[in-house]
Subunit: 335 residues, 4 copies
C-alpha cells in the first residue's frame, strides 16, 4: 500500500493530499476536488461518528476463521463491501489517469477479488460512458449509478445501463444538491415516491437509492419499492452540517432493515470500520475516497491490494471481537 | 468571491486576515480590529453554537424551487437577511476604503439585490453621517442604528435618521459595553424599559432593539413596544464569555416570537446558516463581518456577489432539507 | 499593559513565555518555573472550569455605576481581590528582579490601589524575610502566608509575621505536596484539625487556610476556627489531575459560605473572571501569575496598571450583566 | 531521568520519539515500533480515560508517611507495580541495546527495587530465551508471558518457564491479533475456557491472563481458574477503537475483584496514575513503554531511577488525597 499511496500522492497533487488519515480536515471545502462542501463538517462528521464507536475486545472464545462471505441484491460477495460510485477523475482527482482506466481499475479490481464496483455519473458524458464500458467488459458485474436528471436524460441513461448486462443499478439522489453539477447548468432534483416508483417499475434491474439520511426517506424508498438504500451524505459534498452516517444508521436500520438491503458509506477506512457499520445495522458498506486513491495510485493492482488489506483487517477485527460471520454481527460488540 | 476576498485581504492587512473560515480564532482579542473581545470566546461561541446544529438531509419530496422572499417590519425582502450595522472602517478595517464608500456599497448593494442594509454609529461623526447619506441616496431604503448615548446626542441622531426617509431604525444597546467607545470618553449606557418607551414613542419609525441575549431583555423590549429585537452579542465584541446566539435564540423566540419580529446575528456565514437560524425561530438574520469583507474587497459589486452566493446556498440547503418557503421553516429540519 | 508585558517577557525568558492567554499549556510541567505539575492538567483545569461559565448578557436595566468596594477579614478593599502569595523569584521567574523589589511591588502596588497583597514563603529565608519587610513598610497592610513546616520553624515564622503589624495571616496547606520544597529537603506536611486549632489559638491575627478543594477540608477549617479559606489547587503545582477551582467552589460555598469568608484562586485573568467567581459563591478572589508578570515587568507601576485594567473589566462585566454591587452578585448572571 | 530519556531518544531514533508526554499521538500507527495500531485510537483512549479521572485533593488529615507495600500472587512488592512484558527490542525499539541486556535491565532493576519484571515472547526465539535467562539469573524473580501459540509451541515454552524457577507465568491472549506476528506467519489464536483450564491445570505455577477488556472475558478467566487478570488492550497495538482500560476497569473489578487479583495496564505514566487505577479497583498495575524507555536509556540504573520517581510520585499523590495505604484506597479520592 505504501507505494500505491506514494504514486497516488504524486498523481493527485493539488487535488488530494493522500493524508495518513483521510479525515476531511486538510481538504475542507475543496469541491471540485476530494473535500467536503463548505466547512467540510459533513465529511468530518462521518469520521467522528465512526470513531465514537468502540469495540468490546473479546478473546476467550473459539472464533479463529470467521466467515466474510455474504449475499444481497442477488450478488455473492467475498466481503460485504462495494466500491462507491465516484467519477470525474479530471476535475476531482487531477486527471493523472484517464476516466476509462480509472473506472476499469475499480470494476475489474473489485470483480477479481469477489466484490463489485459501482460507477458514477456526471455532466461530461465520458463519466457514465467509461463506467458502462467497464461494466460491460466485466460481463455485467458492476453497478451503474445515475444522477436524478430530468426524465429524458435519466431514462436514456437507464436504457444504456440495462445494455451493460448489469442486474442492479442505482440513483444517487443526494446529488440533487451537488454544486459541481449546478455550476455546469445541468439540473438534478429531488424525487417523489411516485418518481421513484416509475423508475423502479420501468426496469427489471434491482434498484438502490443512495443518499438516505432520515427514516422518512428510508420509508419512502421502501414504499416506492426500492431493493436497497445507501445511508449516505454523499461524502459530505452536497450539504454542510449533516450528522455522520454511522450516527443515523441505527435508527434507519431499525425502521426498514428487515425489509430492504441497507448499505452505508461515509468515512469507512478499515476493516474495523466495516465491522462497526455491520454492528450498527448495515448489510454491507461502500467505500469511496480510499478506492479512488488506490485506483489512481496503482490501477487494478492498487484496488486489489487495498481490498486484501481490508480483508485482513476485517478478519482480525472479527477475531478480536469474537464475531464468527459477517451475516450475524451482534450490536453488543460495540461498547 | 475569490477575487473579492483576495482584494479584501490586501486592503484589510493588519486588521482582518480574511481567513478561509471566519471563526474568531486568529483575531481573538483584536478590538479595535475585527476580533472578539478578550479571549474571543463570545465570537467563537457564535460559530460553535451554529456548528452544533445539523441538518436532517431529505431528498424524497417535490421541493425544487423554494420561496426565499419574506416581509417584516413593513419591508419586502428577497431573502430574510440584512447587512448588520458596522462602522469605523478606519480603525476596525484598516481604512483601505473610505467610510462613505464602504457604507454606500453596503446599502446600495443590499438594495440592488432586494435586501436592506443597516448603518452603524460611533464616536467619529463620519460614521453615522456617511450611513445616513447612503440611506438618503437609497431613497430611505436602509436602517440606521444609533448607540445608547446620553439623551441629547441620542435624540439629535434620531432626528437625523428620520430625515433620511427611512421607516425603521434601531439601537444597538449591547454597545453599552463597547471598549472602543469607553476609551474615547463617550459614555453609552444600559437603558430601562422607560428609556426605551420614551424613544419608541418619540418617533413614527419602527424600532429594532439589537443586543438581546436573554428572555428578560426580550420581554422588556416587548413591554417597551419594540417592533423587533436582534438576538446578538455584538459579534462577541462587548463581553467575553457569552453563549452563542444560536444557543439562546430558541428560548427567546418561544417567549416573544409570536408578537415581535425576531432577528439574529452572530457567526452566520452561509445560506445553510441562515436556514438554521430560521429553524431555530428567527424571522430573519443579520450578517456582519462577511459583508464588511465583501464591501472592502469589492464595494457594491462585492456585496452583490456575496448576496448571490448566499442565495444559491440558501436555496440549495432548502432543497436538501425539503423546505419550500422561508416563512414556514420546520424546526424538525435540524437533528 | 503592552509595555509591561514586553518587559516581563524579556526578564522572565526561560521561565515564563508571557503568553497572550496565560493558560498553562506552553509551560506544562515546568516546576520550578511558572507551570503546572506533571502534565499541567490541574493548571489547565482551572482555566477550563472558568471558561465553561458563561454570562447572561443583560442590558435593559439601570445599572450604570456599579459598586466594587467590599469588606472582609476586617479589611476594606476597593475590589474583592488580593494578590496571591508567590515567592521564589530567582528559581521560578528567572531572577530578573530581586525578591525584595518583587514583593514590595506587589504589596505597595496593591495598597496604593486599595487592595492587599499576600507574601509567600519557601526554603530560602529571603522569601519570607522580603515579604515581611514589605508588609512592615506598608504599615502592616499585607498578608503573610506560611507553609505547613514542622512546629519550630512554623511558630518562629508566625511570631515574625505578628511583628509586621499585619492583622491577617495564612497557611498554604496545599504546599504539603510542593515538589520544589521536597527536593530541598524541608518537609511540609498535612495538618489535622487539632494542628490548625493550635495555630489559630496561638495568635490574635485572623487566619486564612489556603488549599481547600473539598467540602471535607472546608468543614475541617471551620471546625478549627479559621476565618477564611482559599479554594485553591496551588495553581496546579502540587497534584496533577485535580478539578478546576471554579468547578468545586459552588459546593464548598454552599457548605460553609454563610459562616466563613470564601476566597478562591486559579485561572482568574480578567475582571469578568472575578465576577464569575463571585457568582459561584466566593466573597473575593486571589490572582497569582498575572500579578507576577505585572510586578516583574513593571514593578509597582506594573501592579497598579494591572489592577486598573481589572477594575475597568470588572465594572464593564457588571454593567453588561446588570450587577449593581459585588456584595450582591446573583448566580443567575451565569447561564 | 532527563539524562536517561536523552540517551533513550538517541538510541530509539526512528522508533520512539521519547515525547515529553507519552500519549500515542506522534507514533500513531507505528506497529512495528512503539505506536498504537491503525489510527492509534486505542493507545490514545488509554491516556484519555486516565486523564478523565481527577483527584479530590485533601490536606486536613494525618497521613504523612503512607504505606506502599503490598502482596498478591504470593509476591511481596514494595509498590503495587510490575514492568509489563515487552520484547522485540530490535524491531520495536531500534535495537540500540540487545534483547538480553534490555530484559535483564528490566528484571534486575525491578528486583533491586522490590518489584517484579515481566518478560515477553515473540517469533524470534531470542525474545523468550533472553527473558527466561534473566528470570533464572534473578533466582526466579520474574514473570514470563507466553503468547497463545498452537499447543506444541505453547507447552514447550511453558516447560521452559517452569525451569526458570518462577512461581508465576502469564498468557497475553490479546496478542491473538498482533499484526507483527501474523505477518511473520506464526498464528496465535483466541482460547476457550477449556483451553485455559488445560493450561492452568498443567502447571503448579500461578497464572495471569492478560488482555481482558470485558466482564465476559473476566468471568471466563475466573471459571477457568486463573489467579489474576490484566485489564489490557495490549497498549492499543492489536485492535483500533477500543475503550481505555481505566474506563472498563471498574465494571470488571466489581464483577471479579473479590475473587481474583486484578491488574491493569494502559497509559499509566506516573505515581498519580497508579493511585487512580487502585481507586478504580485494581490490586496492582503494569507499566510498559516508560519502562522500555528507561531500560534502553539507562539499563538497570535507568529502570531503578524510573521506579524511584514513581515511588516519590505515588507517595505524594497519597499524601495529597489522604490515602494511608495502597491496600485500602477509597474510590472517593476520585471526583
Amino acid at each position: 500500500m505504501q507505494e500505491i499511496r506514494k504514486s497516488a500522492k504524486e498523481k493527485m497533487k493539488g487535488y488530494c493530499r493522500v493524508c495518513p488519515v483521510c479525515n476531511g480536515k486538510a481538504c475542507a471545502g475543496e469541491v471540485p476536488g476530494m473535500g467536503g462542501l463548505g466547512t467540510g463538517s459533513a465529511f468530518v462528521a462521518n469520521m467522528e461518528a465512526l470513531d465514537a464507536m468502540r469495540f468490546n475486545m473479546k478473546l476467550v472464545h473459539n472464533v479463529k476463521e470467521p466467515v466474510t462471505e455474504t449475499e444481497f441484491l442477488g450478488l455473492s460477495l467475498s466481503m460485504p463491501l462495494m466500491a462507491a460510485p465516484i467519477g470525474g477523475v479530471s476535475f476531482n482527482m487531477g486527471g493523472g489517469v484517464s476516466e476509462e482506466d480509472y473506472i476499469d481499475a475499480i470494476v475489474s479490481g473489485c470483480k477479481a477479488k469477489g466484490l463489485i464496483g459501482c460507477t458514477g455519473d456526471g455532466v461530461p458524458p465520458v463519466i457514465h460512458e467509461a463506467g458502462y464500458a467497464a461494466i460491460k467488459k466485466a460481463g455485467g458485474h458492476g453497478i451503474g449509478f445515475i444522477k436524478p436528471w430530468e426524465e429524458k436524460e435519466f431514462f436514456e441513461k437507464l436504457e444504456k445501463a440495462e445494455a451493460t448486462g448489469a442486474s442492479v443499478f442505482g440513483v444517487d439522489i443526494d446529488a440533487a444538491g451537488l454544486v459541481t453539477l449546478a455550476k455546469m447548468g445541468r439540473p438534478v432534483t429531488p424525487m417523489t415516491v411516485d418518481d421513484l416508483s416509475k423508475v423502479i417499475k420501468s426496469t427489471s434491474m434491482k434498484f438502490i437509492l443512495k443518499g438516505v439520511m432520515t427514516v422518512h426517506d428510508a420509508l419512502c424508498a421502501k414504499e416506492a419499492g426500492a431493493d436497497a438504500i445507501v445511508v449516505s451524505n454523499h461524502g459530505g459534498r452536497v450539504l454542510d452540517s449533516t450528522p455522520g452516517t454511522a450516527e443515523v444508521l441505527p435508527e434507519i436500520a431499525e425502521a426498514v432493515g428487515g425489509e430492504m438491503t441497507i448499505l452505508v458509506d461515509g468515512g469507512i477506512r478499515s476493516g474495523g470500520d466495516i465491522l462497526k457499520m455491520l454492528a450498527l445495522g448495515a448489510h454491507g458498506v461502500m467505500i469511496g475516497r480510499p478506492f479512488s486513491i488506490a485506483a489512481v495510485g496503482g490501477l487494478q493492482q492498487g484496488v486489489e491490494t487495498y481490498i486484501e488489506t481490508l480483508h485482513t483487517q476485517l478478519v482480525q477485527a472479527m477475531v478480536l471481537t469474537g464475531t464468527d460471520n459477517v451475516n450475524r454481527v451482534e450490536s453488543g460488540i460495540l461498547r
